[in-house]
Point group: C3
Chain length 335, copies 3
């Protein structure tokens, strides 16, 4: 494994092996495995879980980390090619990213979608440009259209809870005060399909995932014995569900248009997961969410505080699977 | 010791033991005692001493730390129960705090008073709610009404300087451009009383400490051979003082009312500690302050730069006593 | 070596030894040399390279670091002597700096020029006051008029590239949207002179380096077999150059006057290094820059992305030479 950028870069068996390594490191910690190694963490966007869990994973393996947050302690970084840099950003990623890569043994990067140009975001043009500037392993800590650390943690969470491979997995759009990126829904639908599940994307009109995202997930389903479909019929989607994965994202019909997005979601306040959503679900149906979650906007207190919620295990597993990723990238004698 | 939240949770002997451990670790460092352990540090408010001294204490014992600052690199966190989260905070402490506790072996939390509702602040409702969400040891890095790390450092400072147990300890209100929380004065008066000192709270009218704070300190005095009283007579209070502990706090008569507080302090600019304050004090009377201090507003240059000031030793002792707390919480095989 | 504040504090041989140590540590790492040691990093100004490379250098030697950023997580710090502190800064450096020095074994400080009072900036009055408050080794991470870590890294970069001692070194002023400090140009011209090079300072009228800066560099040249002169004739300066070191700085004729500075640079947009600048330079002439650099304002893409640019090696060498500095300050049994 050279980088950890997209679960789709790996065959299913390699993901399964990574999850086994993660489990092994929980039970047989290796507190010196990465002694002397340095992890650089570059954030273009705020973070809680990622910031803490990456450092914790590295520390548990004996390594150390440094954190650079563009716009917080460090100036803003320019991403546009050919820019005449007479504005706010004082440094271009073409300098800043390779510089940071000199100082570390692996570099994690978080860079959310522009939210303006859907095609550029789907193409991961900014993230890929940065990856091309680094000659050390890169870890995707959430890019425009992907969040493989979260996807891997969620896969492990379902394994931990013995959710069957062919269980019904419903990714449901939920409400939020404003448009959020497509990274987690895209990564989630692909992960569930790659796990071989029966995946349903439930979303209101105007919020369909982009065709390229659905196509990638459908391919993963086809290759791994799963299925994929989408619907706006909530009752039908939730019926018999084993997992409801709630996630907020922006209107794809009005991508980058905050006003139109606000209008599109104006009548959708009932897309807040409540206990009633589970009335026809499987008896032990779980509620998953990557966090952060807006309580009583996206998911009601009663669900987050109830027996179905496994959001804490998902968050815990972030550290667990990232330790495996770091171990894989940095401890093998041949990397 | 399960948590370190309030000196009042411990009998006096346990505090004395903790101070002995702190002293022992200075003279016989244990650079591997917490190897492999991770300290999480969650700040809702700015910090200098706490941020640096907690990391330094952990490092000197061989452990590592990560820092999360709500609103700086991490989004704001919601504390209100049942909130419909459609405002600025992107995550509730009910998610964020347990998540962080998964990634560490002990969690330090700094969360100042609301400054709005005195009863809620006195009840430590926010802080206690967070403590209830964590299944790891919690360290209070300053809550609404307490600052046990500071209190312990100050106790050690007086021991280092051989200030007698029954010495006269004057906690004096001093001026500040605006209302500050009650955490340090409340912790200080309780600590001095628990140490068994003759404690005088000196403050202008309108700035009396809340009855609950005085009651808790009076109980500690009674149990440990000390005394406690309050006055607004500066000359009388300072006469024969062995320690003057200067501290700024908001008007309790106008709690949460910035305008009334400003008016209440408008004539109080002479509540800035100057050399003349010590004219009838004990010859070797010390000036203590927890820092940060507004020079020439709360304490004059002549005092801070003079022979009476022990503020640097207090700050140094923050690291020293916190090392003992971390050692106690994390190194014992039975914790 | 007690502190690392100014290359001028050392004889040339000591600099050469430090560069040898740096090289040795690259080839024979000492991952335990600073085990148990703590580096404090105090930033009054933003940083990318310094923030990451100092932590990385410390980690590669087995030590740990903590970071304090005034105004980011920590309140602003007051520097003025005798200030009545009723404004924004909550703490004076006279408290904050010694406090931090208690918690670490060496303290790095970054504090840019005021940009208001040239004489005070040239005198390093703020920085020197802070150094005087610390009883541990201090590392200058960029002060008003100096940046010895950068200078040392640049010296090493030229050694790595076998740039001859008597090569022609042109420090050229380049454009920037606003006035920047004199720290890097002052440190660079002195470093090149101390290395024994033929140094030319190329700058438009109104941007001459202060006489005190030129005098210090001239003395270093005289002592070490180099030469120093200045000119505004670009063609003549660049002719035969072996190194072009591009750097932005503010008008010294209008120091602290943003409006006059903007006017002074209004016609200077062609002071952006392009390939054409090298038409009469030495065939293997290098482009150096300390970074961050404004692409297509200070240096064109074609140069930064071309074969002459050695900015990445300069940045890499920051970590390399700082490791030597830390090793020298902290690992010797006699420090």
């Amino acid at each position: 494994m050279k980088n950890f950028i997209d679960l789709a870069d790996m065959p299913r068996e390699q993901v399964v092996e990574l999850l086994s390594l993660a489990e092994r490191l929980v039970h047989k910690p290796e507190p010196q495995a990465l002694a002397g190694k340095i992890l650089g963490l570059l954030f273009f966007n705020p973070s809680l879980r990622t910031l803490a869990s990456m450092q914790a994973a590295m520390a548990r393996l004996g390594g150390t980390s440094f954190v650079i947050s563009a716009g917080q302690g460090t100036w803003q970084l320019e991403m546009r090619r050919g820019a005449v840099m007479n504005g706010a950003p004082a440094e271009h990623v073409r300098e800043g990213v390779p510089v940071l890569s000199h100082y570390c043994d692996a570099l994690g990067i978080r860079a959310f979608a522009s939210g303006v140009d859907l095609q550029a975001d789907l193409a991961e043009s900014s993230f890929n440009e940065m990856v091309g500037l680094v000659n050390k392993p890169v870890i995707n800590m959430e890019s425009a259209i992907n969040h493989p650390c979260q996807a891997l943690a969620d896969w492990k969470t379902m394994d931990d809870l013995a959710v069957p491979r062919r269980a019904k997995f419903v990714l449901s759009w939920v409400n939020h005060p404003r448009a959020l990126p497509l990274a987690v829904p895209a990564a989630t639908v692909h992960m569930a399909a790659m796990r071989g599940m029966d995946v349903v994307v439930l979303r209101p009109e105007g919020f369909a995932l982009p065709p390229a995202v659905m196509k990638k997930a459908a391919d993963a389903a086809a290759a791994n014995g799963g299925t994929l479909r989408e619907t706006s019929d909530r009752d039908e989607a939730l019926s018999g569900a084993h997992v409801v994965y709630a996630k907020e994202w922006g209107s794809t019909a009005h991508y980058g248009n905050a006003e139109a997005d606000a209008k599109a979601r104006s009548g959708l306040a009932d897309w807040c997961v409540r206990d009633t959503w589970f009335s026809r679900a499987a008896v032990d149906c779980k509620l998953m969410h990557c966090l952060p979650v807006r309580r009583n906007v996206a998911v009601a207190d009663e669900v987050l505080d109830g027996r179905r919620s496994v959001v804490q295990r998902e968050a815990y597993n972030r550290m667990v699977v990232q330790a495996a990723v770091l171990h894989q990238l940095l401890s093998t004698p041949t990397h």
